[in-house]
């Protein structure tokens, strides 16, 4: 009996530890991954950035996708980020690590403007 209990206890201990690790681990994994896991999208369609103002938490990666038949760019007015020329269906991503307001525009069609607000 004693022997068996000890064996069960011996078997149970790693299981419990594993379970504890699992429970302890999952919130910590979520917490540490939150910045890179948060994504947001801006669609370029009909010469418009949509949504024109995008509000996201710090750490969000924003991806612009050009859905037009004409190339566009997404370039920060203050030099924070700068895409290459995006032809049809091409994408550009940037991760915002600091809070602030980031106005940007298409350098080819400067009437096209947008803002990413990072909180």
């Amino acid at each position: 009996m004693t022997k068996k209990n000890a064996w069960v206890a011996g078997l149970a201990t790693p299981v419990v530890i594993a379970m504890l690790l699992l429970f302890a681990g999952s919130p910590s994994v979520t917490a540490s991954n939150q910045p890179s896991a948060a994504n947001a999208a801006v669609k370029i369609d009909n010469f418009v950035f949509g949504p024109q103002t995008l509000t996201v938490p710090v750490g969000t990666t924003v991806t612009w996708t050009n859905s037009d038949d004409i190339p566009h760019t997404s370039v920060s007015t203050e030099g924070v980020f700068k895409s290459k020329v995006l032809d049809t269906d091409e994408k550009f991503s940037y991760t915002f690590t600091k809070a602030g307001s980031y106005p940007y525009y298409c350098t080819i069609h400067p009437k096209m403007t947008g803002t990413v607000v990072v909180q």
Partner: protein
């Protein structure tokens, strides 16, 4: 008919010389833009379908000459609006080569390429090599200055030019100025010439007689056609103030892939068709993107512009021709 083009030119010159305004043409196709400017639509512009066989007989009179404007070739574009832009550029060149009186030169008002790729410029060069007119003058469109701030454009097409590619030259008594309004564009703005170029332009015109005909050419229109789509140049008014004293000023632009025309005092503004694909009339579509038309109609909305200068006339006569004619 053989005299159709000559008749058209004569009539245009007569209209222009009466009072500087082609009122008949204007009334026929007048439209008010939201901005309060008057502009005319392509449907109202006379179109010459037959290039007169005997037009050349007038070539010997004085310094008469003609040149052709082509625009917006967008070599590399391959979307449904025109999957073969190289073929339509070739058609445009064939049309120029078939003219009975060879033009003295060709002006390309920009967007030679779609993405400023070396291969696209190579293809363009290959097609243009077949033109009967050996001299071709260029100004860049925004598509020609992608990625490298126009370094490659300048290397290929802008040797000996100033700044981002502006320059002037004289031909048989007419002063031509190629301006660049697609560089260093500001967020929220339209086309822009910039202070350095404006100063150069003012200086370039200094000392020239007011009777010298002036031809300005640039990619984006130098008059505000539709600001919502960026179809205008923010500082064009300053540039145009420098040409006010001249008796004949012709402004040739591209960018909007359709014909529009405005006459303001002594200044005639004109935009050319594209050789690649049409764009919608201002405000008639959600955006200025390529307009898809049935394949059999494509050649009617692409074309070239033939500009004729007759010494006896005060103005230049402009004849637009669709490719499919």
């Amino acid at each position: 008919m053989p005299d159709k083009k000559q008749d058209l030119i004569d009539q245009k010159l007569q209209d222009l010389n009466n009072d500087g305004v082609d009122r008949r043409g204007f009334l026929k196709c007048m439209a008010w833009a939201g901005t309060g400017l008057v502009w005319t639509l392509s449907g109202g512009i006379p179109v010459s379908r037959a290039f007169a066989k005997d037009y050349g007989k007038n070539a010997g009179k004085g310094a008469d000459f003609s040149f052709v404007q082509i625009s917006d070739s967008h070599i590399g574009f391959n979307k449904p609006a025109n999957p073969d832009v190289t073929a339509t550029l070739q058609t445009a060149i064939n049309k120029i080569n078939a003219m009975p009186q060879s033009p003295d030169f060709i002006i390309h008002t920009g967007d030679l390429s779609q993405l400023s790729k070396p291969s696209e410029f190579d293809t363009l060069d290959q097609v243009l090599k077949g033109a009967s007119a050996k001299q071709i003058f260029f100004v860049p469109g925004e598509h020609d200055m992608l990625s490298d701030n126009g370094a490659q454009y300048l290397e290929r097409y802008g040797k000996g030019t100033k700044g981002t590619g502006w320059y002037s030259f004289d031909h048989k008594g007419v002063h031509f100025v190629g301006l660049v309004n697609v560089a260093n564009l500001k967020a929220g703005g339209m086309g822009s010439l910039g202070q350095e170029q404006l100063e150069w332009f003012e200086d370039d015109l200094k000392g020239r007689s007011a009777s010298t005909p002036i031809v300005l050419f640039a990619h984006i229109p130098l008059w505000t056609i539709y600001p919502e789509w960026g179809w205008g140049t923010d500082d064009s008014e300053q540039a145009l103030s420098y040409v006010k004293r001249f008796g004949s000023v012709t402004v040739l632009n591209g960018h909007i892939h359709q014909i529009m025309q405005k006459i303001e005092g002594k200044v005639s503004f004109h935009t050319a068709m594209s050789t690649a694909f049409p764009q919608p009339a201002p405000g008639t579509a959600p955006s200025a993107g390529p307009m898809k038309v049935p394949a059999e109609q494509l050649q009617q909305v692409l074309g070239i512009t033939d500009v004729n200068y007759v010494v006896s006339g005060r103005s230049l006569a402009i004849v637009d021709s669709p490719l499919g004619a």
